[in-house]
Symmetry: C2
Subunit: 434 residues, 2 copies
């Protein structure tokens, strides 16, 4: 694991590399993704069926064959060990409870003259959730994407996930059963994003597409932004840890490794003012690495993307972490709540020694779909908000409208818009007419 101190001469070079960790080479996949999108737009089902036989190693003959029935989901659910079923229900309930607290209400506000202004909050009608399949299948992602949509009140929730060799992970299907998903299609990659974003003759396009995915999925989502809404463009997972000497070495090493085992491209970053802690954690990581089932992935990730920064003090650690803007941030210090107000940029903030990031992946309650690659500067965790939209409400009383008409007319005039002005001033005449 690379270790560097802020006083080292090469610090800025290494740090700038960290800041650029989120850069994705979308250019290189753009021609392929553009072609997939174009094919789905033009050929619809025909293209989708072809893409499945190209990429997922099985050959469906019609759209019916790629739709998973409610019965299949129920069967998968029944096949699970009862304890795992209970765990899924516990996760559902905790995630549901947390997201319920996010739900915005419509509001209105009254002026003395009788005018009403406000904001109407309405669920989107159709949401498309993309859940990756193949190598890594994460039933937790289905819960994390479906539950905010359910809390928002979305009527039609559509799930797409690739079924390599026409096999779908039973736990994923059980999660879909618990979420009462009505429409689960075995479609993967950019083709799935195009299917949900453009729609077909038989399938009405969705209003929003959410969920993780590889660079093909991310690129397709970016290209469809504007056509539909998109949660975010996410890259490989990452964790940043701010620690002082109160941190437990082994907990810290395990937390860093739990990111590293996700993906060779995952980043695990520790920032601490304590050089001894840094050394001890690096050593512990080397000890644990060979014992992991996913040791190849984790070792590559730690070697290529792992980083320990040793700072002069805790304040410098905070400042650097705000620049990094990590997806997950653990604060393993004596007084983590003293640091919280100073955190500007992070997807999710895990405070104290008993909040391992992995709790947040499954059943703490908050969403695990988070902005990566520094995007926490401007992007938020997936939430109920992603499945709602707002409309302004304006209802002027006669008195309210007349009272503003002269000045509003003057503003319209200053912008050279005569019909605007007249439409407002005419309300004075209207009030005399009535």
């Amino acid at each position: 694991m690379t270790q560097i101190s802020t006083s080292d001469t090469h610090f800025h070079e290494s740090f700038n590399k960290l800041l650029k960790r989120g850069e994705m080479d979308m250019e290189s996949v753009l021609p392929i993704v553009n072609e997939i999108l174009r094919e789905v737009k033009e050929e619809q089902e025909t293209a989708i069926l072809r893409h499945i036989s190209q990429f997922d190693s099985w050959q469906p003959e019609s759209l019916d064959q790629i739709l998973i029935s409610k019965k299949e989901m129920k069967t998968a659910y029944d096949s699970l060990a009862p304890s795992l079923r209970d765990t899924l229900h516990l996760a559902y309930d905790r995630i549901y409870a947390f997201h319920s607290k996010q739900k915005l209400k419509s509001w209105i506000d009254f002026a003395e003259d009788g005018t009403i202004l406000g904001q109407k909050v309405t669920p989107m009608q159709r949401a498309g959730l993309y859940i990756p399949g193949g190598k890594a299948t994460y039933p937790s992602s289905l819960l994390m994407n479906a539950i905010p949509a359910i809390v928002a009140g979305v009527k039609d929730i559509i799930v797409c996930s690739p079924a390599i060799h026409n096999q779908v992970n039973a736990t994923l299907l059980a999660a879909a059963h618990i979420c009462n998903i009505q429409h689960f299609y075995k479609i993967g990659g950019a083709s799935a994003i195009a299917f949900m974003g453009y729609g077909t003759q038989q399938f009405q396009k969705v209003d929003v597409i959410t969920g993780p995915g590889n660079i093909f999925v991310a690129t397709a989502k970016k290209l469809l932004f504007g056509e539909v809404n998109i949660d975010m463009i996410a890259g490989p997972s990452e964790i940043g840890v701010i620690a002082d000497c109160s941190a437990d070495i082994e907990s810290l090493a395990l937390d860093l490794l739990s990111q590293a085992e996700h993906d060779e491209l995952a980043s695990s970053i520790l920032i601490t003012p304590h050089k001894e802690l840094a050394n001890a954690v690096a050593q512990k990581i080397d000890e644990i690495l060979p014992t992991l089932q996913r040791k190849e992935i984790a070792t590559t990730s730690i070697r290529e993307r792992g980083m320990i920064l040793v700072t002069t003090d805790l304040q410098e650690a905070i400042d650097l972490m705000n620049l990094i803007a990590p997806e997950h941030l653990e604060i393993l210090t004596e007084q983590p709540f003293e640091i919280l107000p100073h955190i500007q940029n992070a997807g999710a903030i895990f405070l104290g020694h008993y909040t391992p990031e992995a709790l947040g992946d499954y059943l703490a309650g908050p969403n695990h779909t988070l902005p990566t690659g520094g995007n926490a500067r401007f992007s938020s965790p997936l939430s109920v908000d992603h499945f709602l939209k707002k409309s302004s409400i304006l209802a002027f009383s006669q008195k309210g409208a007349i009272g503003l008409s002269m000045q509003c007319g003057e503003f319209a005039e200053a912008e050279g818009l005569q019909a605007h002005k007249e439409s407002i001033l005419f309300r004075q005449k209207l009030s005399k007419k009535v």
Copy 2:
């Protein structure tokens, strides 16, 4: 103005054309916009200065020359008629008051076992506002974009607007003075979006770009989505009106025309079950059109994009309007609040006979930056939310973490992630260690 009844044989054809009004031919401008973006990314200031001399008909020699001083803004403000200054202040105050009500609070929630979960709300640090210039300059757009950023608590607010022949509209500068804008650059089009989105050696990139613009600006914003956040991809303005026979003919005609005068591509759509009202409005529009200063624009808009749909009843009018998902929706009926609950899709909803849409453009309070082209299905008015981001907060108590550890470990195991499981289970050991 095209008039068609839902019972006409060609109805679906015409209506589908309406549903496709938002389609923008981004393909055709993509090569140009890509080139502008690439130039700014690589050549930075040099490219920006060149673009200004290419597109804005003046030749600045350094970045200093394109930055407007606070003094210039103050001078412009002082030069306005006192009544217009008052109007700008009135607009500022009313927009500020409305947006203040939108501001989300951070929240936390406590479990019995001492665990704390919540959501931290943090303003973005740098916001870039694009305000079109040239043919049409709208000082109201500066207020509508800057005020939500101010309410959110954004520290650095940057404005870009083109200065054709190095001239900037005095009212626009006065609005910038009132909003206390510190950084106002005379840069326009895709070049301005690239400047704010990529940054340069001397100019740190922003976190979010908002504001209206032509197809070059819209395409540049779409391409930069992910690099920074983007409010929405907006197209030409539009109004939909649902009216019954309580509507005043002349008000209605003026309200439709106030959209039409914006832009040849603007859409004005009336839906009513009353054929006589439809005829009377069409006639009134023909009467007023020749009297408008912007009659060429308004006439083209009404002819090419204006539409009156006559329905069998009010319910059908509502259903069709929800499919259209207009940017602005006026409900000119006897009981507009009876219709409000059934409106699914609209940017802003104007209720009753004394709420002309133009009031909302200037100083009613709600934002005038709204989703167009049917995007109200999934997009919201510009708001304080566009300038905030959220971070989840998790702080587990020892008891809380231990209580969930077995089940969370089981979930991690089901996903094949061993280090996740061990990082959670290790907290049991840690609790005995302490």
